[in-house]
C-alpha cells in the first residue's frame, strides 16, 4: 500500500490515507526509507483554507442571526426606557422637514404645505406641554395622548386587551379542546380527513381577513341577533379573535391527547368504562399539561394580535364591565398611533413601553407553556 500522501485535488473527492482504517501496519523501524514512514502529522486533520473559511463564515452568519434577534429585544426595551427618566425633550421633538410622502402627489402640493404646517403646529404644542409619562400618568384611567394635556393612562388599554383575550379564550378553548377530543377518541376515519384540513385552512387565514370578515359581516349579524347598541365592541372582537385562536389550541391539545399512552385507554375500556367516560376521565386528565400549554399559547397569541382588534373592536379607550362596549387593546393602540407619532417624544416612548409589555407578556406565556410541554415529554420518555 502506498503510504505517501496523494495531493488532494481542489474539487472532488480524493482518497486520502488518513484515519485508522487506512493506516497500514507500522513499518519496521530503521529499515524503511524515511519518506514512507507514517508521521504523526499525517494523521492530524489537514488544514484547508476553504474548510476554514466555510466554517467561520457560517458561524459568523449564525452569530449575526442571533445578534439581530437580540437587537430586536434590546432596541424595543431601550426605546421604552426613557419612561423612567423623564427629561426635557423639546430639542428632539421637531422634525418639520419630514414630508408626508404618501398622498402628496395625489392631493397636490398645496395640501402638502398645509399638512406640513399642521405638523409644525403640533410639534410646537407638544414641545410646550410635554405630558410627563410619570408613573402616576401611566396608571391613570385616561388614554388621550393627542391633546393639550396628554394623558398616557395604559389601564384602559390593558383592560381592553384582557377583555378581548379572555373572551376569545373562553370561546376558543372549549371548542378546540372538545374538537381535539373528538378527533382523538370518537371520530371515524373519514371525518378526520375533513376536520384536519379545515383546521389547517383556518390556521392559514391571515388575521386581516378574519378582521375584515368580522367588520363587515359578523358585526352586523351579531348586532341583529342580540340587539345591542354599539356595532363594534369587545364581544365582536372576542368572537373574531377566537377564530384565530382555535387552530393553535386545537393543534397543541390534539398533540397532547394523541400522546396519551394507549394502555391507559385500553385499560379503562377493559374495565367497562364507556368511550365518553374514558375520554373525559382518563385521556383528558392525562393530557392536562399539554392542554394547559395549548390554552396558554392561545392566550399569548390573542393578547398580541393586532389586525383583528384594530378592525373589529371599535377602538375606544373606555373602561367598562360590559363586553358590549367598544374597547381598545394595547396592540391596536400601537398600530393606530405609531404612524403619527414624533420620533423620540413621550408618546413614542409610551408606545414602545406598550410594545415591551406585550413582548414580556407573550414571552412569559410561551416560556411557561414550553415548560409544561417539555415536562410532559420527559415524563413520557421516562415511562411514567
Amino acid at each position: 500500500m502506498n503510504t505517501e500522501q496523494t495531493p488532494p485535488g481542489r474539487h472532488g473527492l480524493t482518497v486520502r490515507m488518513t484515519g485508522p482504517a487506512a493506516k497500514p501496519a507500522p513499518p519496521p523501524s530503521g529499515d524503511a526509507p524515511a519518506s514512507s514512514r507514517l508521521r504523526k502529522e499525517d494523521l492530524k486533520k489537514r488544514f484547508r483554507w476553504d474548510e476554514f473559511l466555510a466554517e467561520k463564515l457560517i458561524t459568523a452568519v449564525a452569530f449575526a442571526s442571533l445578534a439581530t434577534i437580540a437587537l430586536i429585544f434590546v432596541f424595543v426595551f431601550r426605546e421604552a426606557f426613557p419612561i423612567f427618566f423623564p427629561e426635557e425633550q423639546q430639542e428632539t421633538v421637531v422634525v418639520q422637514e419630514k414630508e408626508e410622502t404618501y398622498g402628496e402627489e395625489y392631493l397636490g402640493s398645496g395640501t402638502a404645505a398645509l399638512v406640513q404646517g399642521k405638523e409644525r403646529l403640533q410639534s410646537v404644542e407638544s414641545a410646550g406641554s410635554e405630558g410627563e409619562a410619570s408613573l402616576e400618568n401611566l396608571l391613570s384611567v385616561t388614554w388621550q395622548p393627542v391633546s393639550g394635556d396628554p394623558k398616557y393612562g395604559v389601564i384602559p388599554l390593558v383592560i381592553g386587551s384582557l377583555k378581548v383575550t379572555f373572551l376569545s379564550i373562553g370561546i376558543a378553548a372549549p371548542v378546540a379542546i372538545l374538537a381535539a377530543l373528538f378527533i382523538s377518541s370518537f371520530a371515524p376515519k373519514w371525518s378526520r380527513e375533513i376536520l384536519k384540513p379545515a383546521i389547517e385552512i383556518l390556521a392559514g387565514f391571515p388575521s386581516v381577513v378574519i378582521g375584515f370578515f368580522a367588520l363587515v359581516t359578523m358585526a352586523s349579524f351579531l348586532q341583529d341577533l342580540f340587539g345591542y347598541q354599539y356595532r363594534l365592541n369587545a364581544f365582536v372582537g372576542g368572537v373574531a379573535m377566537s377564530l384565530a385562536v382555535i387552530p393553535i389550541v386545537f393543534t397543541v391539545a390534539e398533540d397532547a391527547l394523541a400522546a396519551v399512552p394507549h394502555y391507559m385507554t385500553e385499560a379503562s375500556l377493559a374495565l367497562g368504562a364507556t368511550r365518553w367516560q374514558t375520554a373525559l376521565f382518563v385521556r383528558l386528565p392525562a393530557a392536562t399539561p399539554g392542554v394547559f400549554a395549548a390554552v396558554l399559547l392561545g392566550f399569548g397569541r390573542a393578547f398580541g394580535e393586532t389586525m383583528i382588534v384594530l378592525m373589529a373592536t371599535g377602538n375606544a379607550a373606555l373602561i367598562s364591565l360590559s363586553f358590549l362596549e367598544p374597547v381598545r387593546t394595547m396592540s391596536a393602540t400601537i398600530g393606530a398611533e405609531m404612524a403619527e407619532v414624533v420620533f423620540g417624544d413621550t408618546h413614542y416612548t409610551v408606545l414602545f413601553l406598550l410594545g415591551s409589555i406585550l413582548f414580556i407578556f407573550t414571552f412569559t406565556l410561551n416560556a411557561v407553556a414550553e415548560v409544561f410541554i417539555r415536562q410532559r415529554l420527559l415524563k413520557r420518555f421516562r415511562g411514567a
Partner: protein, 289 residues
Amino acid sequence: MGLTAVAALSIVAVVVVVMGVIVAGAWDVLSWEFLTGVPREGMTEGGIFPAIVGTALLVMIMSVAGVPVGTVTAIYLSEYASVSSVLGRGIRFAVNTLAGVPAIVFGLFGLGFFVQFVGSGMDQLISGGAELKWAQPNILWASMTMALLTLPVVIVSVEEAMKTVPQDLRAASLALGATKWQTIWKIVLPNSMTGILTGGILAVSRGAGEVAPILFTGAAYFLPHLPGSLADQFMELGYHVYIMSTQSTNVDATKGIQYATTLVLLLLTFLLNFSAMFFRSRIRARQRS
C-alpha cells in the same frame, strides 16, 4: 360525545361560512381586469394590480434577505453546532422566543430601528442629512422587517429538512474522504432542497398575510405609480383591505372591491400553504422510508 362532534362540526361550518361569504361578496367584482387594472375613481372602481405587484415585490425582497441567512443559520445549527455549544443553544432560544413575538412589535422595531436609525444614518452618510431619502417608510425597510418576522420559520423548516438526511450518508461521504464542507455542499444541501423550499414558501405566505409590521414601515393606500426603487412606498393587498374597510371615504361603494381583494389575498395564501404542505409531506415520507 355528541358535544365533541358539535364542536368539531362548528369549526368546519365556520370555515365554510367565512369562505362562502367572501366568495359571494367578491363574485361580481373578480375578473381579469380587476387583477390587472389600477384603481380609479377614488378607489371605487378599477383593479388592484399595484397592490398585487407591491405584495409580490415585498415578499421577493424579503425572501432574498431572509432565506439565505436563515438557511445558513440552519446549516450551522444542524451541522456545526455541538449539542452543548453556547451559540447553538442561544440561537435556538432566540428563535423560539422570536417566534412568539407579536407582529406589531416587529413593526415597532422596523420603525424605530430601520426607518429612524439606519435610515437617517444612511441619509447622513449619503447627503450629510440634507436630503431625506432613506429615513422614511419604504419597501426596503418593510421587507427587512418581514424578513426578521419570518426568520424563525425558515430556520426551523430548513433544520427539520436537514435532520432527515440520514447520518449514514454523511458518514459515507466523510469516509470516502470528503471534507465537512464538501459533504454539506454536495450531499446534505441538495437533499434538503425540499425543506428550504418549504421554509421559503411558508415565509412568503406569512409575509404576504401579515399587515401589522408594514402598517408604518412602508405600506401606503394610494400611490400613483408602482415602486420604482427601494426607497419608494408600495401598495399591499392586506393593507389595502384594512384601509379600505376602515378608513375609505365611501365604504359602501367599495364593498365589492374589499371582498375581492380579500379573496385574492386568501387564495394566494392558500396556494402557498398547500404547496408548502405538499412539500412537507414529501419530506416526511422520505423520513419514514
